[in-house]
């Protein structure tokens, strides 16, 4: 009798959260799957069931493939940059004795930025007429004319990736730093006595200790960057001439520009399917690491 009461109570605790997850996350997935098989329109009330027609249309659209490639490039380049900067910053921060707190506070500022302010701040700094950086480079003689970071198609993608590294590196830094601090110091001391070089210490003590945490971070960041809509949409809107259109922006234009919600659903379902595959592979690798540790 008593155990039954407890059982009932514990479900009551998690029930509200389960309802949120069920109605706001699980249901919409199935709803999108359903609409992806229809001609659902943003405004028109009626729609027809058309099977896999939307998927065929999307998968034969060269613009979709271009957006997909752009997404991959955007994710890989941003992530590599974020990891290199975040990781090296964490190592440097872990080493210095003075001003640690000041550096840390200053370096995590970007993390708190709303995406619209990221966009406006950088658009103003990089503005092709009165922006700080183009004018500075011009005055210093580095550039012979004002560089157009956001409208020159050869510069814009790199600029966006730089901005994304600026935004995302602090998160990597903070998490790597807290993982570094869990490594027992005596291991380094013991290694030093044994005559291990700094590089050997890094490879055989540091890396194994933080591998799993960094792995998880990479998974979370991959998902986030791949799904990110705000930064690119607000800075370039996918332009110039679709040069920075990623899959989320392609889906948005399809759903709210052309108003073809059904086809847009198909795009987002493909996006989710791709992420599921990527994460499955990641988790396999991390699972292997975790086993090795034990």
């Amino acid at each position: 009798m008593k155990t039954k009461k407890i059982d009932y109570g514990r479900w009551l605790l998690v029930l509200p959260a389960l309802i949120v997850v069920g109605t706001l996350l699980v249901y919409p997935i199935f709803s999108s799957l359903y609409y992806s098989l229809t001609t659902k329109h943003l405004i028109k009330a009626t729609y027809d069931f058309i099977g896999f027609d939307n998927y065929i249309k999307v998968l034969t659209d060269p613009d979709f493939f271009k957006a997909f490639l752009t997404s991959i490039l955007w994710t890989v380049a941003s992530l590599l940059g974020q990891i290199v900067v975040g990781f090296t910053a964490a190592l440097a921060l872990n080493r210095v004795n003075h001003l640690k707190g000041v550096y840390r506070i200053l370096m995590i500022i970007p993390w708190a930025f709303p995406s619209i302010v990221i966009a406006l701040a950088w658009k103003w700094i990089l503005n092709g007429v009165s922006g700080f950086l183009p004018n500075l480079l011009y005055e210093m003689g580095v550039a012979s004319e004002l560089p157009q970071f956001l409208s020159d198609s050869s510069l814009v993608f790199g600029t966006l990736i730089f901005i994304n590294i600026w935004f995302g590196a602090p998160m990597i830094m903070v998490n790597v730093l807290s993982a570094l601090q869990t490594i027992p110091q005596d291991q380094y001391e013991a290694a030093q006595i044994d005559g291990a070089s700094k590089l050997q210490q890094f490879m055989y003590i540091t890396v194994p200790h933080i591998k799993v945490v960094v792995g998880l971070l990479v998974v979370l960041r991959t998902i986030w960057v791949f799904n990110n809509f705000d930064i690119i949409y607000l800075i370039t809107g996918g332009g110039p001439a679709n040069a920075t259109t990623t899959v989320p922006i392609y889906a948005y234009n399809m759903g709210w520009g052309t108003k073809l919600l059904g086809r847009s659903s198909a795009v987002t379902v493909l996006l989710l399917a791709f992420l599921l595959i990527v994460c499955f592979i990641y988790f396999k690798i991390i699972g292997k690491w975790e086993k090795e540790d034990k």
Binding site: L24, F113, A179, I223, L271
Partner: protein, 278 residues
Amino acid sequence: MSGKLKGKLGNVVCHLYLIILSVIAAFPLLWVLLCSVKSSGDLTSNPTSILPKEFTLGHFKNVIDTLGFTRNIGNSLIIAFFTTVIAIAISSLAAYGIVRFFPKFGNIMSRALVTTYMFPPILLAIPYTLVMAKLGLTNTRVGLVIVYLSFSVPYAVWMLIGFFKTVPIGIEEAARVDGANKMVTFVRIVLPLVAPGIVATAIYTFINAWNEFLYSLILINSTELMTVSVALRSLQGAEILDWGSMMAASTLVVIPSVVFFMFIQKYIAGGMTEGSVK
């Protein structure tokens, strides 16, 4: 000797590197703040001078008096506040439940929560648009609060699990031996112990709701109900780009986020990965 010298040199290199990174990280915030008080003429004719030639609050006046930005701030405050209160209530119960009463199933539940992180917001945006229209909640603050629970609840549960795990079960058992029931134990014993964690999670939830853009773009279309993100974006669509006002409005939006974030950053460290590793 050379080892010591090398160590010193290494330190100098580290400091230099950290200084460069700090400057790049902090510069946009500094620039937004400085430009919000520069005169329009100063902004266009002296693009590389750091300090304002003359100090003006004209842009702030324009943003608040002419553009009515306080209304947008009010909307965002209300939406972020209710999102936070509801999300934290739901999430602390769930996190506590998962940690204490689902020893085996709990891990699966928290894994499932992480999976929801994978769902593209742009995918969810389509059903949200359709359902909210059906329920008559398009263009309402209530609708937006409901939608915001979709990302704030999983994330808050995730973070709170980490905090609840730090409460030793012995304390609760002792309280129960003394005759306190489950509810009393939770409210009087457990909650005070994780209070800092809950506050940190609440602030983080608030910042994320305050910063949100996509759902607000899709679900709100009247100027009166716009959140700060969307209102700020609409300034960009103006015929004459008024960068001074945009910087002033940006200041009003970014300062609360940054200031609150500074208070909780210590708690956030590791919070993202902690829920799963242990």
